[in-house]
């Protein structure tokens, strides 16, 4: 599983409504119904999965799943290589 696929899987895991489809283009708030707690759950899951600490402020302006992937790739390149 690629890094991108893993992130999309973690996003799905943290959705209350499992019927919503998730792609890289999905907007966290508008398409997936993310609120602040959902974002915290996602960040916690990524931290658990990759054993890293994520600065919440670094992802608070992200709009889409692709934005999350981009931010993580920039701030934590080591985890992209790992998967």
């Amino acid at each position: 599983m690629s890094f991108r696929e893993k992130i999309i899987e973690l996003v799905k895991e943290n959705l209350e409504n499992k019927e919503v489809s998730v792609t890289g283009e999905s907007l966290l708030e508008d398409d997936l119904g993310f609120d602040s707690f959902a974002t915290v759950m996602l960040i916690n899951s990524i931290e658990d999965e990759f054993g890293i600490n994520i600065d919440v402020d670094s992802v608070k302006d992200t709009l889409s799943v692709n934005d999350i992937i981009k931010k993580l790739s920039e701030n934590h390149p080591e985890i992209v290589a790992r998967k």
Binding site: E29, G33, A38, V40, N44
Partner: protein, 391 residues
Amino acid sequence: MNGNFYERFILDRTPAENAKFNPYYPLIGSGLDDPLIVNGKEFVNLASNNYLGLATDKRVKEAVIKAVEKYGTSLCGTPIATGYADLYRNVEQRVAKYLELEDAILLPSCYQANNGIFSALATKDDVILVDHYAHSSLVEGVRSAGCKVRPFLHNNIESIEKILSRCTDYKTIFVVTESVFSTEGSIAPFKEIVNICKKYKAIPVIDDSHGIGVIGKNGSGILSHFDIENFEGIYLTSLGKAFANAGGVIAGKKSLIDYLRYYCPHLIYSTALTPATLAGIDEVLNIVETEFTQLSEKMIRYRNIIRNGAKSGGFHLADGGAPITSIVAGNTHETFLLAKQLYENGILSTPFVYPSVPKNEGKIRLIAGANLLEESVIKAAETIREIGATR
């Protein structure tokens, strides 16, 4: 300078302007009677948390009047000072006994209980797991503790266990949820949560605000509902809903409650509940201990009438085992419009919109208290059905 400051706080009136209706702050001109007077007109009240209909019960009102005659309007002090009337101690003890817990303290509101408990007990070395859809008072409470906060998926045991299995480096783990989620009426799988807390040595914390007086033996709430004995956690509740008064409760082990009597700032720096409120709670305890079964039957029957009306009208309802009917109404505008239609047809409802509920998942909550006339409930159900059928 001042101009800039006030410009930061401009209320967004767009939703109310678009719907030509503001459902909030309705002006109530009567007690919670049937009919209810709102803005000078008669309504069927499906908006209050007056589940058992005791807010205007003659016996409760008489008990309150007697207490005011004996104690006056206030003891003008915090419980740790002059606020600890014999009436206060009696109600604390009665509430604890009713809940089958060792001890209890009474705060001015459940919001303060939910805020105060975490700032008094949690430290930076702890972690708090909290349900994704927990009430704002719990969310603010856990955030104020300054420790790691880990939300879990709503009512989802797997999600809790997955997080617990990773919480190895914390001094204390709290798992926080509500018994009855008030926007939808769902009941948390709390017995399973208590069991999983035992497995991982976590402290379960339950807010039973919409459970007390509603579920369990004699309405004593979630612990009784699930036959949970020797509860090792922390119990929080409101006395302003089915209990038809005001105030919040923190209950549990005696040693912990004694500690909170001296170290919970929300208790010791707030003026004590008034004698009127304490006497009202005392009388409600008398009533529920003897009449809960009849009141509950009525409450459930009314819930079913309203629910059947909404279903027949084609409304999509949120799942829930509590006496709450929750119509899934859509986005904020759609939710406001439905509340407006109900209002124009003499029904007062409670609309919930984002951020109180997820975006585009607005809900209209309907609670038919046991004090309503059956004919009013039947008429309201028919009106709801007609509104649904013509949408």
